[in-house]
């Protein structure tokens, strides 16, 4: 898309963009970076023509002249750049921790309303969490202090698969327990027969799927589908897995590869955080949103999409 001038580009900046958040950069830093980059690019585009002002000049006791002169007060060097960071509203849909990387949905200007909808709709997020067997740290993550070492010779792929399947089943049971319906009732049976259900509030993490996708001792990778999860919760998952495998483990990386229908192929890399890429990405995100409108306004407890 060719951008004619700054004003039309600014008007186009309403909607959702899908960002690839790098690890070790906080979400606040990402938003700040987006804002400053957008201002830089908008200020670099052709500006509107300078304003004129009416000047009435000459002595008052003779005929005075009225003419249009350039208004110096309108010069960007005097009144400051046309677009500043405060002009761009920017908000995230769901938070990603400092050490997580991956898909981050960000609303720009009018799009901040969409991020609110996505936040309350609680779309499922899919993660790849990598772990390291044999060592445990006090924070459950690589940045912590090493507190325990253990042997890993007895850990095999079938063992991991078995325990992971067990963990998934346990989480699905709690999912129904947290729905607030009596476990022995007909209502619960009807609900459960429909499939997975979404949690009643935004506080408790619920895991829908858990799978080991790579095993290369001592490294392994899990794929998790979850709602209401947070960084530290995913770390503890790896720690618990280590204990259940009768060894120790800590997390080495958390990557969000999908949120709802927005996957990593849509996400913009750090080098592409520029105005023209944002506007292109916004259009792509709009198409995804229009195709899956029911995702944003869920009507029942049944998990879809």
């Amino acid at each position: 898309m060719k951008l004619r001038d700054a004003a039309s580009a600014y008007k186009a900046l309403n909607g959702l963009v899908c960002i690839y958040k790098p690890t070790c950069v906080s979400v606040e830093r990402v938003l700040h970076c987006i804002r400053t980059n957008l201002c830089r690019d908008l200020n670099g585009l052709p500006d509107r023509p300078g304003e004129l002002r009416v000047a009435v000049e000459g002595p008052t006791n003779k005929p005075m002249t009225v003419k249009l002169v350039p208004n110096y007060a309108d010069d960007p060097l005097v009144c400051g750049p046309r677009y500043i960071a405060e002009d761009i509203k920017c908000s995230w849909a769901t938070h990603l921790g400092l050490f997580s990387s991956g898909v981050l949905l960000v609303g720009l200007n009018q799009g901040t309303k969409l991020t609110y909808l996505i936040n309350t709709a609680r779309l499922t997020r899919c993660y790849k969490i990598s772990g390291l067997l044999g060592k445990a740290t006090d924070t459950y993550f690589w940045n912590g202090k090493l507190i325990e070492k253990a042997t890993i010779g007895h850990v095999t792929r079938p063992k991991i698969d078995e325990i992971v399947a067990h963990m998934q089943a346990a989480h699905q049971k709690t999912m129904f327990e947290l729905s607030g319906v009596h476990m022995e009732s007909q209502t619960m049976f009807d609900l459960a027969s429909e499939g997975l259900i979404r949690p009643a509030n935004s506080k408790l993490p619920v895991i829908y799927g858990l799978k080991c996708v790579a095993f290369d001792p001592p490294h392994f990778t899990l794929e998790v589908q979850a709602v209401n999860e947070y960084e530290k919760y995913l770390w503890t998952l790896i720690h618990d897995l280590g204990i259940q495998l009768k060894t120790a483990a800590h997390c080495t990386g958390v990557q969000c590869i999908r949120q709802g229908k927005f996957d990593v192929s849509l996400a913009l890399l750090r080098k592409h955080w520029k105005l023209e890429h944002f506007i292109d990405n916004m259009d792509q995100c709009r198409i995804v949103l229009e195709e899956h409108e029911q995702l944003m306004r869920p009507e029942s407890a049944i998990l879809s999409g």
């Binding site: 790098p22 006791n61 007060a73 010069d75 005097v78 009144c79 400051g80 002009d87 890399l269």
Partner: protein
């Protein structure tokens, strides 16, 4: 969508300064006007009758309230307009209200004299930037400035070198000759530089000489003690990339640790391409990991498929993929989305 900079939080009270000169001439006129208003009814006809019919009232301005920024003065102040014509960014100066008070007291003749002096050393394109960075230059006497230029000449700096030093470091002329002499002496002794090397260093990175000396001492310590370069290597590093002394010490060490401990690059290779220490760590990291994945992470010039270290830091990703990784840029982007 007019953006007012942060300075809008400060209220400036300098309208009296701009209009001070005009007001002196106007006192008499205003007095007659006030008399009319106070003694007679406030209708225009009586006002006209009382004041002298042939008097020129064009110099009377309406009451000017306190303002938040310079934009409201510029249409009436010739000095500010002149500053704008040489592309001084007034909105940036405005963020420091104490500078504005000083800048507004500068008169036209003074401005002319300084611009006339500076144009020998700073090109017209850079002059706006120069005054934006250092508006206090108008408060240094012209004789002092000439002495400071003469000092550089006495130290055998060529004309083009002096021009580069002054225009690249707008604060250079604010430092007295004794201070500059002390700083140059410090660099010469600390890094064992010859006269030519001092001049080369000063011209290459003029800001370094007037930089915070504590910061320079810390970074020298980091390079010598924590990174383990000896004095000769330190000198080579400084002359090659003087900016190494000006960046954040923690970032410098983090970059070195990654290159030295994780990538296993020895000191002599880093010395050959010190620019790699000036690039942000994530850039080096992602390119190195990609090369490693392709099996191309070979940084030894004596073996085949040599990748120079600087390729990890410089150039666009497209060039990097084409020349060194020998792959498609899309493959590289896909890889970046797995980190």
């Amino acid at each position: 969508m007019i953006g007012f900079s942060k300075a809008t939080h400060y209220a400036f009270f300098f309208n009296s300064i701009v209009y001070g000169r005009i007001n002196e001439h106007l006192t008499r006129n205003l007095d007659t006007l006030y008399k009319c208003i106070s003694t007679k009814d406030m209708n225009a006809e009586s006002l006209l009758n009382e004041s002298e019919p042939n008097e020129d009232l064009s110099k009377i301005t309406p009451h000017f309230p306190n303002t938040f920024n310079l934009a409201s003065y510029i249409n009436h102040s010739e000095v500010l307009q002149n500053l704008l014509h040489i592309k001084v960014n007034l909105s940036k100066i405005e963020t420091k209200p104490h500078l504005i008070d000083k800048l507004l007291k500068v008169n036209k003749e003074q401005l002319q004299k300084y611009v006339y002096f500076l144009k020998d050393y700073v090109s017209m394109d850079d002059l706006g930037n120069f005054i934006t960075k250092n508006p206090m230059i108008f408060y240094e006497s012209l004789d002092d400035l000439q002495i400071r230029i003469n000092y550089l000449q006495s130290k055998n700096f060529t004309k083009s070198q002096i021009q580069r030093v002054v225009s690249k470091n707008p604060f250079w002329l604010m430092f007295s000759t004794t201070r500059i002499d002390r700083r140059l002496g410090y660099f010469q002794n600390r890094f064992n530089l010859s006269g030519n090397e001092v001049r080369e260093l000063t011209t290459k990175q003029a800001k370094l000489i007037t930089y915070n000396s504590q910061h320079i001492k810390t970074n020298t310590f980091v390079i010598r003690e924590e990174m383990g370069f000896d004095d000769k290597e330190l000198k080579k590093l400084i002359l090659d990339k003087p900016k190494l002394l000006m960046i954040n010490q923690l970032h410098l060490l983090e970059r070195f640790k990654y290159i030295h401990n994780v990538m296993n690059i020895d000191h002599s290779s880093i010395l050959r391409h010190p620019g790699v220490l000036l690039s942000r760590n994530f850039r080096v990291k992602q390119r190195h990991l990609y090369l490693k994945k392709l099996g191309r992470d070979q940084y030894d010039p004596k073996k085949a498929n040599y990748i120079p270290l600087i390729a990890l830091a410089e150039g666009t990703d497209i060039d990097f993929c084409k020349v060194y990784a020998k792959c498609d840029i899309y493959a590289f982007n896909t890889f970046l989305k797995t980190l």
